[in-house]
């Protein structure tokens, strides 16, 4: 088990990122708190045999997404239509592009994870495939599908890209 100082450091370094992943997937503050604590508890329980800080980061991302997914698999979360309302985060006036954020948040879970990791965290497709433990082709498919859905919601001008340009 890792010592308190190591956990404190991880909280400082990756806390915001875990909170963002929770924001992407969860709608209720109490769920966010549960997932946030579980992620860092699992980190504290880990052997700490990480090869680099990049390895720690990728591990924390994977655990965070898995934790969100397992919580959302519960009966309550599958049956109850939770609000997609940014105002509950007190963000609606601060965001420059609330409609964009809403569109990304409304994507199915796997698609928004890929969009987030690629566009926000800057991971390459092959790295995302490793983090999510999926084949590269699957990630390509999700990325393509996510972008198509975003374009449908936001209009064709929202992207200026070519499919051939994946890193």
């Amino acid at each position: 088990m890792l010592d308190e100082e190591a956990v404190r450091q991880a909280l400082e370094q990756y806390g915001d990122m875990v909170r963002r992943i929770c924001f992407m997937h969860l709608k209720k503050e109490e769920d966010v708190e549960d997932v946030f604590q579980n992620v860092f508890f699992k980190y504290a329980k880990s052997t700490g045999s990480f090869q680099s800080s990049q390895h720690v980061k990728a591990w924390i991302i994977r655990v965070s997404i898995n934790e969100c997914n397992s919580l959302l698999r519960g009966w309550f979360h599958r049956k109850v239509d939770l609000k997609e309302d940014l105002s509950m985060y007190g963000m609606e006036e601060k965001t420059e592009y609330p409609e964009v954020l809403q569109a990304v948040l409304s994507l199915p879970r796997n698609l928004k994870s890929v969009i987030y990791l690629y566009y926000y965290e800057g991971y390459k497709i092959v790295e995302i495939a490793n983090i999510l433990n999926r084949k590269e082709n699957t990630i390509h498919t999700w990325m393509r599908r996510g972008k198509k859905q975003l374009k449908k919601m936001l209009g064709d001008d929202s992207f200026e890209d070519t499919d051939a340009g994946f890193r």
Binding site: M1, E4, V7, R8, L11, E12, G15, D16, V18, R19, R20, F23, E33, F36, Q37, F40, F41, A44, N69, R73, R78, Y89, M91, K94, T95, E96, Y97, P98, V100, L101, V104, S106, L107, P108, R109, N110, L111, Y116, Y119, Y120, N137, T138, T141, W142, R144, R145, K148, Q149, L150, K152, L154, D157, S158, F159, E160, D161, T162, G165, F166, R167
Partner: protein, 253 residues
């Protein structure tokens, strides 16, 4: 090179509050302090269980291995999107055979092989295929499950729903259970039971439509037709009430 115009920088504003961090640290410290009063109990119990399981393992004595052709399907999954096909599964939910109902399905299965795959993986493989993608973006995926073992059928439906919810928007697909009579009625028309179920619902609302006529519709067209006649969305659960339209031969005037 991708030039991204979608601004994700709004996410910079999402921060973990100091309160959340300190609460987390506190919780972890408290959990660490709780020690297991029986540190050897759990591993010992596991070892004992393993010994018991191994000594009764049926695989340690020779068992007759059934021929593939002898395995009877235990459950069935129909997939319509417009490739229309049926996966037949063994009791372990592995695909043992596939029936194609149209040319699109035959083309799709030339590209991918899902035989022997677990049902969940097989559906993911089909849904994630590049050929299927256009159908999904512009169409509607209907999946239906049937097994004589009702509980198994429900479990399978839940598994598929869970898997699809991660990849598709709820408006892009529907997954439901089917009855034995619906399954048999669809088989007699040589069509997938998922599509048949929706056709049955359309005919219930407007008996001037015929099975033969609706057979030419894509899943999306059928869904739209149902919604325009009924004035409501295609329900997620639409168990057919006993395939009463088996052999129906109405004509649309």
């Amino acid at each position: 090179m991708i030039v991204l115009k979608i601004p994700m920088q709004d996410l910079d504003k999402i921060k973990a509050s100091d309160d959340l961090k300190s609460k987390t640290l506190q919780t972890i410290t408290n959990k660490k302090k709780k020690r297991n009063p029986f540190p050897l109990f759990v591993p010992s119990a596991i070892v004992i269980c393993l010994i018991v399981i191994v000594s009764y393992n049926p695989f340690t004595s020779p068992q007759p291995v059934p021929e593939i052709s002898m395995i009877q399907p235990y459950s069935y999954i129909s997939i319509d999107i417009n490739p229309s096909l049926e996966l037949q599964l063994d009791q372990g939910d592995n695909v043992i055979s596939i029936i194609t109902y149209n040319e699109e399905a035959k083309t799709l299965l030339k590209e991918i092989n899902v035989n022997g795959m677990n049902a969940k993986d097989a559906i993911s493989r089909i849904v994630e295929d590049r050929n299927t993608e256009n159908y999904i973006v512009n169409g509607y995926l209907q999946i239906s499950v049937y097994s004589e073992d009702e509980q198994h059928s429900k479990d399978l439906e839940a598994l598929i729903n869970e898997s699809l919810s991660g990849t598709l928007d709820a408006s892009q697909y529907g997954c439901s259970n089917s009855s034995k009579s619906n399954y048999e009625a669809a088989s007699s028309h040589h069509m997938s039971f998922g599509k048949y179920q929706v056709m049955d619902m359309v005919i219930d609302l407007d008996s001037t439509y015929t099975i033969e006529e609706l057979q030419k519709y894509s899943m999306m067209e059928l869904k739209n037709l149902y919604e325009s006649i009924s004035g409501q969305n295609l329900p997620e659960e639409h168990n057919s009430n006993s395939g009463k339209h088996n052999g129906r031969n109405n004509h649309h005037d």
